[in-house]
Symmetry: D2
Subunit: 384 residues, 4 copies
Amino acid sequence: MTLPDRESQGRRLRAGIVGGGNGAFIGPIHRIAAELDGQALLVAGVLSSDPARAMRAAAEWRLPRAYEDFRTMAIEESRRKDGIDFAIIATPNDLHAPVARAFLDAGIPVVCDKPLALSAAEADELVRQVEASRLCFALTHPYAAYPLVREARERVARGALGELRRVVVEYQQDWLREPLEHEGHKQASWRTDPQRSGPGGCIGDIGTHAQHLLEYVAGRPIVALCADLTSFVAGRVLDDDANVLLRLEGGAKGVLTCSQIACGEENALTLRLYGAAAGLEWRQQEPNTLIWKPADAPWQLIRTGSSTAGVQARLATRTPAGHPEGYIEAFANIYSAFIADVRRCHAGETPIGGYPTVQDGARSMRFIQAVVESSRNGASWLAL
Amino acid sequence: MTLPDRESQGRRLRAGIVGGGNGAFIGPIHRIAAELDGQALLVAGVLSSDPARAMRAAAEWRLPRAYEDFRTMAIEESRRKDGIDFAIIATPNDLHAPVARAFLDAGIPVVCDKPLALSAAEADELVRQVEASRLCFALTHPYAAYPLVREARERVARGALGELRRVVVEYQQDWLREPLEHEGHKQASWRTDPQRSGPGGCIGDIGTHAQHLLEYVAGRPIVALCADLTSFVAGRVLDDDANVLLRLEGGAKGVLTCSQIACGEENALTLRLYGAAAGLEWRQQEPNTLIWKPADAPWQLIRTGSSTAGVQARLATRTPAGHPEGYIEAFANIYSAFIADVRRCHAGETPIGGYPTVQDGARSMRFIQAVVESSRNGASWLAL
Amino acid sequence: MTLPDRESQGRRLRAGIVGGGNGAFIGPIHRIAAELDGQALLVAGVLSSDPARAMRAAAEWRLPRAYEDFRTMAIEESRRKDGIDFAIIATPNDLHAPVARAFLDAGIPVVCDKPLALSAAEADELVRQVEASRLCFALTHPYAAYPLVREARERVARGALGELRRVVVEYQQDWLREPLEHEGHKQASWRTDPQRSGPGGCIGDIGTHAQHLLEYVAGRPIVALCADLTSFVAGRVLDDDANVLLRLEGGAKGVLTCSQIACGEENALTLRLYGAAAGLEWRQQEPNTLIWKPADAPWQLIRTGSSTAGVQARLATRTPAGHPEGYIEAFANIYSAFIADVRRCHAGETPIGGYPTVQDGARSMRFIQAVVESSRNGASWLAL
Amino acid sequence: MTLPDRESQGRRLRAGIVGGGNGAFIGPIHRIAAELDGQALLVAGVLSSDPARAMRAAAEWRLPRAYEDFRTMAIEESRRKDGIDFAIIATPNDLHAPVARAFLDAGIPVVCDKPLALSAAEADELVRQVEASRLCFALTHPYAAYPLVREARERVARGALGELRRVVVEYQQDWLREPLEHEGHKQASWRTDPQRSGPGGCIGDIGTHAQHLLEYVAGRPIVALCADLTSFVAGRVLDDDANVLLRLEGGAKGVLTCSQIACGEENALTLRLYGAAAGLEWRQQEPNTLIWKPADAPWQLIRTGSSTAGVQARLATRTPAGHPEGYIEAFANIYSAFIADVRRCHAGETPIGGYPTVQDGARSMRFIQAVVESSRNGASWLAL
């Protein structure tokens, strides 16, 4: 348990990062997002699992403190008077849990990439450690942090959609449409390797974003699924394409479809919900418009930053209407809420959340396992 | 078998219609589409199953010859020197096969609404009669007759998409989201009544359009499916919502999702195909743009009437680029090809097709039955 | 003056056409549009100024009566018991007035392509003849006949936009971006020739559509303008590009910009109006959506065929929401209202209009002349 | 002239800000943008012209050093060993030049909001001072710093558009459609006050962005203009709406239209260029798509972060394709290039630019003055 650290209230928090320095795009995004609101500074890191690369990258990033391995970093930072206030985990999936445990052991709050772990069992263990530690823990599902996703969730929650009936969530990419993993592509290599990525390929990498987004906005869980996974690229062990029938608590039904071989698609995460009174549609690639589809009335275009969006959307917005907010700003919304919670802990107050949790991460692991099992059973139905 | 009627070459063909006069939108569409290219004129009809209404409607339509029942019309027209050259069937589903049989018996070619019949067995019987009669028979799947759907099919056929991997076809409406059938709504009443509509509700009414469109463009059949049907509106017997996992010949997989309770959707039929070399997307509500998604190159917007569309699209187009063509023009493309075939028969030539056939109709009946059976079996897989 | 011809009430009207058979796209459009609603049939024509071509084309079109020149046609048709009920003029601009006068002289109502004449003086003369004859006369500005243009006009008329402040109307094409007129391109040749096209090039051919659309929807006239015309293609005498500042009655200001050398544009006619209470936007290439932009509320997408469009739009619509209506259907809306007026005249009733008039045509001629004069004066302001 | 400060290479630069703390949105944007790439930290500021507010705001922003007036800040910071490396000016327009001069006098590089000054004369004086000082100076036209605007400029520069013929640039907002300046709205008050805003209202505030964007992408200047300014809101002295005819060097013509009373528009800055070989279109509100319109080929959608964008776009991009970049990231691109230049100066190297300059600012002041003068002369032509 962290003791009150009232001195932190007058300064930016200090952050350290593990991973993210090897040409992965996500490392720099974490740095920018963590620092965006002027509430934190990145001061330490293990930017690569290769010690020499780690030191070189830290110099490029101008990090005051570079480490060769994460365990050393966790211990040393926990002992410094000016040690980091939280750790960021941006490694391949297999290291998420070990790194998280090391920092939690050292009493340091954690922001971790998804999926949380290699298995539901490993995830559950992490949940227990977080709960025991009472340390703040955030999982980075940035898509759910866009202003208009919050608007959508708020509308569903207040019943504006009516009884939820039908859901369609998609996530389509094409970057794995060729066997890049055999051509030395670092990102492709670990993501298609079950030892490093876990049991899900596409379904773990992006399907979990879709599942989380859907459940977050719908405000209710998937209770059963029937999944058909495919590995279209020859020689690939993990799935690169998934089609899943869904049933949600309360009777809604729908489809989750995701792919990393959908030729021509960049990052097409799209959510549509249909209730008895209205429908809604949100597209991540044009995230500043939420299409609202009321019964017997014209479609409305709800816009980020406009007076027509509600309070949750406005709290997540930094610019006036018509000044597009993007992926980085959404990502920063997770950090903003997480940092506020860390400050609350420092002040001896109770954290209030507002970002994806370790429990969300464990749920997604169960989702991955259910999808994989359903598919192995000939695409049969499974409860989740 | 029709004897050569060389005199028809110098005049418009004469058409008769059964149904379509009771406030259904589809009757007038058939008339406009049949006449659009100046190749046919509607001269006779039974516009309603209620004789008094039938006569009144015929006067409004200025039809020279009105009948009180379709059997009389078939017989009398077949005996006139200036009798109709073909019959149009725009009745509820339960009359499709009986009316078709009556005109075929009278030696008169037929254009028939979909779905073809009330069951696969009834459809197969009709197939046999058409094949024996050697009369022209067209089924009206107008969505597949848009210029850019033909462009899409042509591109798939010449291999521009590469190995087909992934398909998503949707058809979303909302007009049955309330129990209109209990409020005296004529269209809703017969469409939700298994006696008049057949075993499929939404899946028969619009799901068959989606299935036909997909197979037409993909150029290969669905070979297995797993369907989850729902009747969301209380008291409704037939499905008003359907989610179906698909497997296609050759290994492609995908999803067919359709609904008549998708709040806010008008007529959102959308097709997306993804191959190893390119993807494509077409949206019925903006039918004059085909999105082409090549690997590693920008998306291209192929447009109706432009020089960038191929020969099949151009043959189906009447206006220059930028002058939108709509649903009626697509519908007329079926008539245009059908009438040309009737003229070929009159001239003693072999018909060449280019429109949906009675066999397509029988296939859709098997599709409906497979979907219904799969859903009844707890959404289990079935071969098609 | 036409005598009451009560026998016409029970039959389709008979139409004759002059021009349109030489590969021009507009001839077949006139035929389809005139016949679309089952109220008229094309039975006679002079399809080309070359007699041999005229006869050949008439056979292809299966016209019962073909003529070699329009004067003969006017006289002979006026003498037949089954003569045409109205004439359609689809010739190059220089023949509009002479042909119209011939048919009016013969007591035959006229539908005429725009621009009405070669000069304002010639147009005014035609106005006088039409007014004296009391014959029906329609000018084909089809873009103003789309359902949602009527919706826009209705909204402005009932004050929903508030005080009109700002207008932007555009019409961009690219088909004249190369000197096609020197390469034997028939359409390009006459359109770039002041002897056949009149004083305006682009501004006459498409600028008048933009001017008419703007004034029709805004419900008030342009009162002053400042125009900068250009002939970008070497050797071209008439303008192929125009930028015009506008002032409207009542204080609104704006811009009309049109071009036939705007590379990549097909037929991009777009209208935007901004009032004190709302804005609106309509794009001809996606004509089934009207964007409504109220102050302090989300944009609304008003759709053709939906219950959210008003009565004027619904009267101009043939299909349910989500079934796109296109250019031909808009064109047919002019014929539908014109034919109803001809029938009224036959019945001895007063015509009620609902389509562009000969006076509208004369106004557009004054618009063309003002634009040309303003531009010649160094783009100075002129009253209109 | 700044002496080489080699120690700065290993650390983030230190920045100070004047203005931006009074509820203006632009202050926080400057902070985020300046710090985004981890190359600078905001450490000092005068956040308000009211000393008490200034101190309070600095505490909220957690600024280590707060000042009550900008002159003191300039002098004191220039004397500190850890003084700021550059100053940011985010005040109303009337203070731009005085504040800039104070920092330049103190040898401190400057990033300044636009428009640069209250008059062309004042701007020219500032140009002379910057040139004499050899200090880095950046003007914040963030819209020109979007990745795909750079792509557009690169394409024009390499001739891909062919001879430039036609330009249309728009900037439409609606936030001043009511007399907010009489209701105590701070932003509206100074922006509509000629003493604080300069001679241009809408044309100065947003018209200059449009002018700069156009000239930046086109790579050539406007050489003559004819402008019609209006103040639609009663009692407003400065224009809130502008329509301008343009002629560019080399013969291209076009239109600049901007408004702050265009009801329903948020921040609709749009640029379209048409050459002899291709056209292009970019819309600030969906900034991650550039529409490329080649002659006789389909439109292409060039996307931020994709392999289909060129080197200039990629250098300005932080996320992979499909992860939207927004306004803040574009703004940060100015800082990124400016900071690199400041570092070059510290290292004794020559700055290389890549951001809008003080000369660009002076040009925009001449543009504003020409527009105002043209409009006063009855919208007559003026050379620029």
